[in-house]
């Protein structure tokens, strides 16, 4: 465990944070966003009464990134295997994690135009004139499917958002190295974690190049 609570009055605030989710892509792009309050910690490892981070912590670092004055990062090896085991149980958490860790405008479960039903983009990140659509897979073998799904979504919406260049990012949880394929940026979870937590990189551009 590499995160530790700082015993101050502010610590109570660490319990919750805000995220943009379940909103229309159009609203997200136009920044008409009402953020929802959520628990900061996915494993309920923040004990506000005793002002401590408990052993349930999976080292995701959200609390540290959101509340640097209340949480310290200490020297040590992060429990990446525990984090990954958690992702095995709840793959969707990777989107929440990324959305909360980066400094660009990010939203999860963003609704976009579908054929008959609304489609949902797991994670969208917006910079000045670029949109990043992010999807995660456990194994590189699932790349094609994820890539097609993103293509499908992009095909349906690109006419409406011509001003933006849309980029596809696929995060491979059990991947070995990052690369480009079919115009998609492939980045491994390990590399993302290293850049965000160890190298303090918080811009999507810095993360995916």
């Amino acid at each position: 465990m590499i995160f530790k609570a700082i015993n101050n009055k502010e610590f109570e605030k660490v319990a919750t944070c805000y995220i943009a989710e379940h909103i229309e892509l159009k609203d997200f792009i136009n920044e008409k966003i009402t953020e929802k309050q959520i628990l900061t910690c996915p494993t309920n490892a923040i004990d506000t009464e005793n002002r401590e981070i408990t052993k349930e912590c999976i080292d995701c670092g959200i609390c540290w990134i959101k509340y640097p004055s209340s949480v310290n990062k200490i020297k040590g090896v992060p429990s990446l295997s525990i984090f990954k085991a958690y992702l095995k149980k709840d793959k969707m958490f990777i989107y929440r994690w990324l959305a909360l860790c980066i400094e660009d405008l990010a939203g999860i479960n963003i609704k976009s135009k579908g054929f008959s039903r609304v489609k949902r983009i797991p994670l969208v990140v917006k910079t000045r004139n670029q949109l990043y659509f992010v999807k995660s897979i456990y194994d590189i073998a699932d790349f094609e499917k994820a890539d097609y799904e993103l293509d499908d979504i992009i095909q349906l919406i690109q006419e409406d958002f011509q001003k933006y260049q849309i980029k596809k990012i696929i995060v491979v949880i059990n991947g070995v190295s990052s690369k480009m394929r079919n115009k998609s940026s492939i980045i491994t979870f390990d590399e993302l974690y290293d850049k965000i937590i160890n190298q303090n990189k918080r811009k999507i551009m810095e993360l995916v190049g």
Partner: protein
């Protein structure tokens, strides 16, 4: 008027118990609407006051529903969602309503419901009491689809896997020619719906002592089976797939009276759900033929139920021959009628009237409340069916 339930939250009987307690606190025996079931932060009464499952997390000062993906969500309750936030667009609360109605704990009136005497009895004791189990078993065995499930599992002679049971609207794969193209009618349940219905009814059966999940300890006191089973039924996910059958051998030796079979309007799935890619044409054609599908499924269940009242068998081939004389009511395609109806027979079990078969003679194993079954059915249709049934 009963409908097929298919949402996981309705599987937790303890949640339904809390919901009914809240409804009784607020409405006593006065009518309530579907929206009244939802948590309302503006109301003096809400389900959190009667829910024993709320959890206190170390990071926040108030208790929350343990099943919500976001415990801080304004939805507040996984079973009902809330007036302020309902990501399920009322589907969850509607399913909870159907579950309570199916077990006879509430009765439908106009656009809402009222609590029945059985409902009041059910909530008069604590959930863990012996009485609750008796009332639960009696309630569940008045719900047609549950009876269908219990009959199917009682036929097995060994442990069963959940996947062995198919419980949903029959899939006939009938094709209709439109402009030279053959379009398949979408009248059967999709696999995800079958899975959800099965999952809920399996957890009901586990709660009420008809199934024991593999690797779960046998309750030490079977008279409070439902209470001892709580650690499993309360869990967020029900992952056990293999079950030991505990259905009493004599359960179907006498005819059970099923008070809440699926009614006429519930004989087909909601075609509002048919809106996937390239389904527009399929949807239009299915909607066109939906009255026929409803009529013919109703005809099968009604025929068996009527014969059951007289302790008679239903001659299937004779019945089909008579039904086929009314193509505008019962037939999609004459050439394919017999094959389709063979498959449609599956609706009988789902409605709560399983049967045994000897060539063409079908022997019904339960009695249905004909009034409930016929609720919503056109009188002219019932008249025609009565004439046919008298004849064969």
């Amino acid at each position: 008027m009963s409908y097929l339930i298919n949402r996981n939250p309705s599987g937790r009987i303890i949640c339904l118990h809390s919901l009914l307690r809240y409804l009784y606190n607020k409405f006593k025996t006065e009518p309530f609407t579907l929206t009244d079931l939802k948590y309302d932060s503006q109301s003096k009464f809400n389900i959190h006051q009667t829910c024993p499952l709320l959890v206190k997390l170390s990071s926040i000062s108030f208790k929350v529903c343990p099943y919500l993906e976001n415990p801080l969500s304004d939805a507040k309750c996984y079973l009902t969602q809330s007036v302020q936030e309902d990501t399920q667009k009322s589907k969850s609360v509607s399913d909870a309503f159907n579950a309570l109605e199916g077990m006879e704990f509430i009765r439908r009136v106009d656009k809402g419901g009222v609590i029945t005497k059985e409902g009041i009895d059910f909530i008069s004791d604590e959930f863990e009491s012996e009485n609750t189990l008796k009332r639960l078993q009696s309630g569940m065995l008045s719900y047609g689809p549950f009876v269908g499930l219990i009959h199917e599992i009682s036929n097995k002679t060994r442990d069963i896997y959940r996947s062995e049971i198919e419980l949903g609207y029959p899939i006939t794969n009938e094709k209709v020619e439109v402009g030279g193209r053959k379009i398949t009618l979408s009248t059967g349940s999709q696999q995800d719906t079958i899975t959800r219905t099965r999952s809920v009814l399996f957890i009901w059966a586990t709660t009420s002592g008809f199934l024991l999940p593999e690797s779960i300890k046998e309750p030490s006191n079977p008279s409070v089976w439902h209470a001892e089973m709580l650690p499993y039924t309360e869990s967020k996910k029900w992952t056990i797939n293999k079950f030991n059958i505990r259905v009493p051998k004599m359960l179907f030796s006498k005819k059970l009276f099923v008070k809440n079979p699926l009614s006429y309007n519930a004989m087909t799935k909601s075609t509002k759900a048919l809106r996937e890619r390239n389904q527009e044409e399929e949807r239009t054609i299915t909607l066109k033929y939906e009255p026929i599908i409803t009529n013919r499924r109703f005809a099968l269940v009604y025929g068996l139920a009527k014969k059951s009242e007289k302790n008679q068998t239903l001659n299937f081939s004779g019945y089909l021959k008579e039904l086929s004389k009314y193509p505008e009511l019962f037939v999609v395609n004459q050439k394919d009628f017999e094959r389709a109806m063979e498959i449609e027979l599956g609706i009988c079990s789902v409605c709560g009237i399983p049967f045994t078969r000897d060539k063409f003679d079908l022997t019904p194993l339960t009695l249905l409340d004909i009034k409930e079954l016929s609720s919503g059915a056109p009188l002219s249709l019932i008249k025609i069916l009565d004439q046919i049934i008298m004849k064969i």
